[in-house]
């Protein structure tokens, strides 16, 4: 069986000669070549774009983490403190100091 398969494999040069010529014709046709090139370029650009967006996102994220997150946290604390003071003032009945 295997030998037959092999023989078939050996006999391939005869048959595929015309089929490969079709394939070769197709693969040699300018559309396919250009398509291949375009696909390669697209993949390359996509890879680069992905990498640079990743880097940009990383920089933006870390910058945000350092510059904005502490600000948000502190503003929130300040807000809470203000509210607490207002509440206490209203409980004690004194006018809120503002």
């Amino acid at each position: 069986m295997a030998s037959q398969g092999k023989r078939g494999g050996v006999s391939l040069p005869d048959r595929p000669s015309d089929s490969s010529s079709v394939l070769a014709k197709i693969s040699r046709s300018s559309i396919v070549v250009r398509g291949k090139e375009a696909a390669g370029d697209a993949a390359f650009v996509a890879k680069k774009l992905l990498r640079s967006t990743g880097k940009a996102a990383w920089i933006a994220g870390t910058t945000f983490l350092v510059l904005v997150v502490p600000l948000i946290v502190e503003m929130d604390r300040e807000q809470q403190l203000n509210e607490l003071e207002l509440q206490q003032a209203s409980l004690l009945g004194t006018p809120a100091p503002k």
Partner: protein, 331 residues
């Protein structure tokens, strides 16, 4: 800060009383608002003259002293007031310190310092200030009012490395609407500057300096425009340095600052933008600049006389990240 009185200042603007102009701030503190928002981490007490010179000669001032606020590692400061006039100061700093090197990569070595300091203030005539580190570095400052409008200032930095010790003496004469200074330093450093109020808000000044040891001399001009909401300053020097800064006070708690610094001769320019929030429990300062450097500094008040400090600095370009935390005890 509501000032619903536009007519009087407008009237004052149209007819400037040139005989009653306010006294300008010292020339060396021209950018003090912007600097205190730590756009440029220069200590305001270091003279602009020094700054110009150190722009010329990079080795003159160690880079470490240009970053007083941001730190890396851990620090602990303890301040003890012995009496009204005398204060003692202990601080411990542990963390990596950068070694200045020619290569682009930064080299850091782990260090630990103990710093002892004392301050004597006989308000408002005399101020003595000293700090000494375990590695032998000593910083000392004197500010002494010799007469009503003549002030003597001295600033010294001593190290055990040769040629790294500096001393500057400074005589300041304060007039009614002007100030002039004369500076004398080691290495045959001579300087003089003069600043004059031109209108209520605008003051103009100039300086000359000569560093004899390095055979450099230069001239600088400065201008400052301030109202109670904003301060704009500009400075040009013959060393090629141009510094422009603008600080806007948005509200009582928030100020925004921006600064542009460029060196015409070496063709490098930096622009930075920063914010300063002073809230009830904390003070938060942030900065971003065109070198890809982001920094934030948070001082959180935990209790009376107990402050917690967080410092962060990211240098995206150099991939150099510095984080620090610390405690400050006593005020």
């Amino acid at each position: 800060m509501a000032t619903p009185v536009p007519p009087p200042p407008a009237a004052a603007d149209t007819a400037v009383d040139y005989l009653n102009l306010p006294c300008p701030i010292p020339f060396e503190e021209l950018h003090r608002e912007a600097f205190s928002k730590f756009l440029s981490p220069f200590q305001s007490s270091i003279s602009v003259l020094f700054l110009l010179v150190c722009n010329l000669l990079i080795s003159l001032f160690p880079i470490v002293s240009l970053k007083p606020d941001l730190f890396e590692g851990m620090r602990f400061d303890f301040t003890k007031m012995l009496n009204q006039k005398f204060t003692l100061n202990h601080s411990v700093l542990m963390g990596p310190t950068e070694i200045p090197s020619q290569s682009t990569e930064t080299i850091k070595i782990p260090t630990a310092h103990y710093e002892f300091g004392s301050t004597f203030i006989d308000h408002p005539r005399l101020l003595l200030w000293g700090r000494i580190l375990t590695d032998g570095r000593l910083n000392a400052r004197v500010k002494w009012d010799l007469a009503e409008n003549l002030t003597f200032k001295a600033n010294a930095q001593l190290t055990n490395e040769p040629h790294m010790s500096h001393g500057v003496f400074n005589f300041e004469y304060k007039g009614k609407d002007y100030r002039s200074q004369f500076q004398l330093g080691n290495g045959a450093l001579l300087g003089a500057n003069y600043i004059q109020s031109v209108t209520q808000h605008l003051s103009l000044g100039g300086e000359v300096f000569w560093a004899g040891q390095h055979r450099k001399s230069g001239v600088g001009y400065g201008a400052r425009y301030n109202t109670d909401k904003m301060v704009a300053t500009g400075q040009v020097a013959s060393t090629g340095m141009v510094v422009l800064s603008y600080v806007q006070k948005v509200s009582e708690k928030v100020s925004l600052a921006s600064e542009f610094m460029c060196n015409y001769l070496s063709r490098d320019a930096t622009a930075s933008f920063g914010y300063d929030y002073i809230l009830r429990q904390c003070r938060l300062r942030g900065k971003i600049d065109s070198n890809g450097c982001v920094a934030a500094f948070l001082e959180e008040r935990l209790n009376m006389g107990l402050n917690f400090i967080l410092s962060a600095e990211l240098d995206h370009k150099k991939k150099d990240y510095k984080f620090g935390f610390g405690l400050t005890v006593g005020e």
